[in-house]
Amino acid sequence: MYKILEKVDYSDDVYMQVIEAPAVAKAAQAGQFIVLRINEEGERIPLTIADFDRDKGTVTIVVQAVGKSTRHLQTLGAGDEIANFIGPLGIPSEIENFGTVVCAGGGVGVAPIYPIARELKKAGNKVISIVAARTRNLLLWEDKMNDVSDEVIVTTDDGSYGRKCLVTEPLKELCETGGVDLIYAIGPGIMMKFCCKTTEPYNVKTLVSLNSIMVDGTGMCGACRVSVGGETRFVCVDGPEFDGHQVNFDELMARQRQYLEQEKIANDLYMECRGDATCLT
């Protein structure tokens, strides 16, 4: 069992949890992910590592509640325990001094980009971060990104805070100005797709971190497969980071929709029964 030490709700459906998992924390590196399972009946959910503290033995995750499991997880707070917490998985980000790196995070994608930005900054890069959200109260970790960036640009789709535009607008401007050596774009599939479309004409390498459906997270099942440069790759062992210009995002997004029907059934049942453990039995 793994203990939840801290939990903060950022909005109705976005929350942060700090989990006690010393072995995972000890090995964790920027860019990696974990797989967790709440209880015996639970599914295995992959989540990118948002932060880790090797000395304290903790790993931080930031989650958007979208279905039954992530809603259930949101009801758990400090002192509660979850059954399994496995990781770190995936290949860590390659960190070196590239020069100037733009880190564009959309929605909860800001969380996983944070440790990457931090390591890039430590390695001597100039880090320009774009922190994007649909609206102001969904905006995440602006302060933390400030701490590890030379410059932070904030955007909201509705203009409730920062610039009123999509994340791609400042990204395009930065590419046009030139001098950008590497771009990281992490967020929903659609956001990463358009970030890559934006940067492609400028030939600036753009890395994305893919959030495909997974089961084991160790290369055993192939649930996470995605086409990159026309070849099938497993996100959990070959990634999660890939050259975004090579990724088939339409396929990725179609594959993410595979269980919508079942997710809805599970979610509806869960919402109906909330707080009533006997309801399902």
Binding site: R44, N84, I86, D216, T232, A254
Partner: protein, 498 residues
């Protein structure tokens, strides 16, 4: 014993006239709708009759057919004497998990194939008797605990809790070593728990076997991915005096045909893991979803393909099994093929998939297949299937399950320096000692041999434990007598080859 000898001539006549005792099974109609075990096991009377059929050969051929050399006549004699406890003790001298092997070993290609009775009649049902002995032990509660050697003060790390890892761990614990198994998944058992379905191998049996090795003092650390959570070098630096790699062959192969990434295409590993390990067949009581649709195509002809097909059937689908050679070459156990046919799985033999067609939302719609004919035998002696031009047809389908084998998973090996691999990525280990190119590291099971069988993996676990024990005592990995034996065997084989 002497009584038996005296009566031998008389009994022999009788023995051959007793037909092989069928094992009670759930009817095909009934079992197609549930996940309970298909075969129900012998009753005491049935076991007594079947055991009495054994001729108790002086030079038993069956033993030579067993990859681990179980003393088959001896355990069967104990059963014939109505002493299952003695039978299980005999079995456990050589196999750690008779309840598992009795259910999943391909006996028709091993021990039972060589049974003398099988020449003119039907062979003794060795596997079913093995299962009976093990099940009786389970029913009667705790079996006898083996004696443990005094603590040796050294510690071994085992990677993977499949049959190879668990067997080695149990043996090493009995020898007095401290043992920790590191398992990537959240449940121990390897393929036995994530791959082989409940209806063929109930998970409570696997759990019982794992609990048994824990009772010997073995620690099983779940959620631990070696190569990620900790490397092999870190294991060796942090208190493990030797390491046994038994991480299996878990990387699914795909066909590399167009359309394989459409929604509704599964690897058999994914499909079976969802169903078995994650219990998706009990969705929504369990959270993991699985999609079968109305019509399922399973590609392949091995045990894995049969398991996937029969699982899909139980989830309510009409199942089409597509295999590129003929029934004769079908590699799955005969019993499983028979069961699959009985349950209503449609076999498309000499048929090969060409491409998968999807709809505009990215879902599987049809699979295009081509008819095959068998040509000249290939290097392995199997006749190579050749496509018949112009014989393409489309089969409308909702789900495709690809069961065309697995390869070595590189996650662990890639993260380890100094570990020699062959060209397929399998770990190279000495055939007789299972020592690898890396000091203190041994390897066995599917990761060395490629996908094989449970009993071979267990055999490897035994050999590894023996080698590791000797390694930790600073002894040569093979005794002079063993060296001599191997030499003699090699020479004999050489003569035969010439």
């Amino acid at each position: 014993m002497s009584d038996v000898d005296k009566n031998k001539g008389e009994k022999k006549v009788k023995k051959t006239s007793i037909p092989r005792t069928p094992i009670p099974e759930q009817s095909p109609k009934e079992r197609a709708k549930n996940f309970e075990e298909v075969a129900l096991g012998y009753t005491r009377d049935q076991a007594l009759i079947e055991a009495s059929r054994c001729l108790q050969c002086k030079k038993p051929k069956c033993v030579a057919g067993c990859p681990v050399g179980i003393d088959i006549p001896a355990f069967i004699q104990a059963l014939a004497d109505d002493d299952p406890a003695a039978a299980i003790a005999k079995l456990k001298e050589t196999t750690s998990f008779p309840a598992v092997c009795g259910r999943v070993c391909p006996q028709e290609d091993q021990c039972e194939k060589l049974c003398i009775l099988g020449r003119k009649h039907e062979p003794v049902a060795i596997g079913r008797l093995e299962r009976y002995a093990a099940d009786r032990e389970a029913q009667n509660g705790e079996g006898a605990r083996p004696e443990k050697a005094p603590k040796k003060g050294k510690h071994v790390g085992v990677v993977g809790s499949g049959p190879a890892g668990v067997t080695a761990a149990g043996e090493l614990a009995k020898m007095g070593y401290g043992v920790t198994i590191y398992e990537a998944l959240h449940k121990p058992g390897g393929v036995l728990v994530y791959g082989i379905p409940e209806f063929r191998l109930p998970k409570t049996i696997v759990q019982r076997e794992c609990e048994y090795v824990e009772s010997l003092g073995v620690e099983i650390k779940l959620d631990y991915v070696i190569g990620r959570t900790m490397t092999i070098d870190q294991m060796l630096e942090n208190g493990h005096d030797a390491v046994f790699l038994a991480n299996g062959a878990g990387l699914p192969s795909f066909l590399n045909i167009p359309g394989e990434n459409f929604n509704g295409v599964y690897s058999a590993n994914e499909f079976l893991t969802r169903a078995n390990l994650m219990k998706a067949y009990r969705f929504p009581d369990y959270d993991t979803p699985i999609k079968v649709g109305k019509r399922v195509a399973v590609i392949g002809g091995g045990n894995v393909a049969m398991d996937a097909a029969r699982t899909a059937l139980r989830l309510g689908a009409e199942v089409h099994l597509i295999y590129r050679r003929s029934m004769e070459e079908l590699p799955a156990r005969k019993e499983e093929v028979h069961h699959a046919q009985e349950e209503g799985i449609e076999f498309h033999l000499l048929t090969n998939p060409v491409r998968i067609k999807g709809d505009q939302d990215g879902w599987v719609e049809e699979i295009e297949v081509i008819k095959m004919e068998l040509g000249e035998p290939d290097a392995g002696g199997r006749r190579r299937p050749i496509p018949i031009e112009g014989s393409e047809t489309m089969i409308p389908i909702d789900t495709v399950i690809v069961a065309v084998g697995t390869r070595a998973n590189p996650l662990l090996t890639k993260s380890t320096k100094g570990l020699e691999l062959n060209k397929w990525g399998n770990i190279v280990a000495d055939e007789h000692t299972l020592q690898t190119s890396k000091e203190g590291v041994f390897a066995g099971g599917d990761i060395v041999t490629g996908a094989a069988t449970v009993i071979l993996a267990m055999g490897a676990g035994k050999i590894a434990a023996r080698s590791i024990g000797r390694y930790l005592q600073g002894q040569p990995l093979l005794t002079p007598e063993e060296e001599e034996e191997l030499k003699a065997a090699a020479e004999k084989a050489g003569v035969a080859a010439r």
